[in-house]
Assembly symmetry: C2
Homo-oligomer: 366 residues x 2
């Protein structure tokens, strides 16, 4: 799958293989053109950060009939890192361009059931994470937060309709669950299916769902697609992103995980961001300045550069950085500083908006 454009996100993950294994469709040039002509330009699409989909063409058609809504979610078990935020930045872009409703699920039940955390800890993180999501700038008039435990009165009656169509064998295969999993974990995917059709229930008319999500969530939505047509709803469309690489580099799973302790959180202050990037971001530079100047760095394995692919929208700037790093003109520390500045510019504003978000929770919670 090796590609050498600077905007290609690298890693050990064979995304083309994932497309095949998961039965996804690649966002090809034709579809990219259609998206760009209808919605405008996004570096998330043109750099293939969102690279795969199901039924996206159909979603665009449904949008013309004003039936489309977006659905995405957050598993609240810790602070939000840039990998999460990236998916939601694109989701916000989609919402703005489509001018449609977004149903945002906080899967506090999932995190409670799968993590070694107390119910109260998960509730705390749900609150904290909601503030970050609001601060990302979603339209308050058209965004509805669903919190699985808080909205169980609405969701559980629908979830059992999904659950009735889903055997243990089905979820065993899809998630690798076994006899030692708890019965809440086994049930849970039914709850994750609900927002894909809940607006149809609430508005008493057939709505069409489009789910932007990181590719690891695909097994949930494959099952959702199998089942909800049996309940009389359309299969949801979806659009999948690659993972933002972890600071330590492209790990075996390629995904930035907050558990490595080396993620950048949306609540990190400028000093912390600088320290983390300088200390942990895997460098593609050479060992000495002399060597680097002579031989140049390798942006394709350099995490700071890879992050700029996600967060520096300007192609010209990015190409310049790429060329200068490769030629040895730009040192590793200088490249990292570019990323630090880019992130902190965003985070300072984000954290201001996050403060304001505290007064806006009621507006967002359905």
């Amino acid at each position: 799958m090796a590609t050498i454009t600077p905007w290609e996100v690298k890693g050990n993950i064979d995304y083309d293989r994932l497309i095949k294994d998961f039965g996804l469709s690649k966002i090809d040039n034709k579809l990219l053109k259609e998206l760009t002509s209808k919605l405008g330009d996004s570096h998330f699409l043109r750099r293939e950060i969102f690279f795969a989909h199901r039924d996206l063409e159909k979603a665009l058609k449904e949008h013309e009939k004003e039936n489309l809504f977006l659905y995405t979610g957050c598993g609240p078990s810790g602070p939000i890192h840039m990998g999460h935020a990236m998916v939601w930045m694109f989701t916000k872009w989609l919402q703005d361009k489509l001018d449609c409703e977004l149903w945002f699920q906080f899967t506090d039940d999932e995190k409670f059931l799968f993590k070694d955390k107390t119910y109260d800890e998960i509730q705390k993180w749900t609150h904290e994470n909601m503030l970050d999501v609001i601060a990302l700038g979603f339209n308050p008039e058209k965004t509805h937060f669903l919190i699985d435990t808080k909205h169980a009165g609405l969701m559980y009656p629908e979830a059992i309709k999904v659950a009735k169509k889903l055997t243990f064998s089905n979820v065993k295969g899809a998630f690798g669950l076994g006899n030692n999993n708890n019965v809440g974990q086994i049930f849970y995917t039914a709850m994750q299916a609900v927002p894909a059709f809940l607006p149809s229930v609430i508005y008493k008319k057939k709505m069409f769902c489009l789910i932007p999500h990181a590719i690891d969530q695909d097994p949930h939505f494959r099952l959702t697609r199998d089942i909800i047509p049996k309940l009389g709803y359309d299969k949801p469309a979806s659009i999948q992103s690659r993972f933002l690489p972890g600071l330590a580099g492209m790990q075996s799973d390629g995904k930035m995980s907050s558990s490595t302790g080396q993620a950048i959180y949306l609540t990190d202050d400028a000093k912390t961001v600088r320290k983390k990037i300088m200390k942990y971001a895997f460098s593609g530079g050479k060992d000495t300045v002399e060597e680097h100047r002579k031989l140049g760095g390798n942006p394709d394995i350099d995490v700071a550069f890879q992050w700029l692919v996600f967060f520096e929208e300007d192609d010209k700037k990015l190409q310049e950085i790429y060329d200068n790093y490769k030629s040895g003109k730009l040192l590793s520390g200088e490249l990292k500083q570019i990323l630090v500045d880019k992130l902190n510019e965003f985070l300072v504003e984000h954290q201001k908006r996050r403060e304001k978000a505290k007064t806006m929770l009621d507006k967002f919670i359905y």
Copy 2:
């Protein structure tokens, strides 16, 4: 286990063996005496219709501290038959004597998940069954209906705390569930555990639960007892009844089932009751009147007589019927007529109260 007192409910079920297998305690003479001295006399106890228990002594002690509440339930998938009503008649007696709260669960999720019925059908039966429960005369000031789907907002957040402690292996063993069961069925027992501690959550003080139930529900509550102490609550106490035999006689499972089509429903009119008893109630009488007069009937296998053990509270009357049937003085049709009269006397009043119950739903639904 053969006993020959007229008030012993017979059948192919070896209840002594169930006590051993389930790890129950028999309600022995000492406990029966204590119950009678504290609560008064009940034919359900003195005839060993409610015959087994767990921690009933402890429940009585907690009652002195005014911490006790009752919990029982109804699986709404069809009309209520006398076998259900029998358990709730005793529950009403207990509520009256203990003057305590009763939390009454309608497991509409369970019935939807386990039966080949639509969601709307189950909702219809939930409504119908609630009317029957109200008509049985529970204290409206102290009785709270929990409907699993309607109260999911309250119950699901608690159910996942139970679910987290319960693996698929646990429920496999307890209920014989397998890979082809749906994930809602696998989760469900967590919902049935919730009312055993929900009042402690609601009242923010430690309450103690006593569950009157037919013995087939015991596997649920065995799991509940294992798990809720891990959440900081006391193990619920319980008191178990035998099954009211089906009209066709003591089937292999001994339980009156509405699916045989030969149950007496609380909504049956007097004519229907008479017809069903005359036609279907298995008789212990002889083939001809002559033979019967000469040799006498066998009340121990006669369903009409066995039902009178459950519903004719007067020991003297019952003994007389027993003796007269055994001697041949009372014919099978006459015995059946005694039962028909007894049931219709109850049902006519019940159905009047059921009409009134339609205006009382709001008072009962929590």
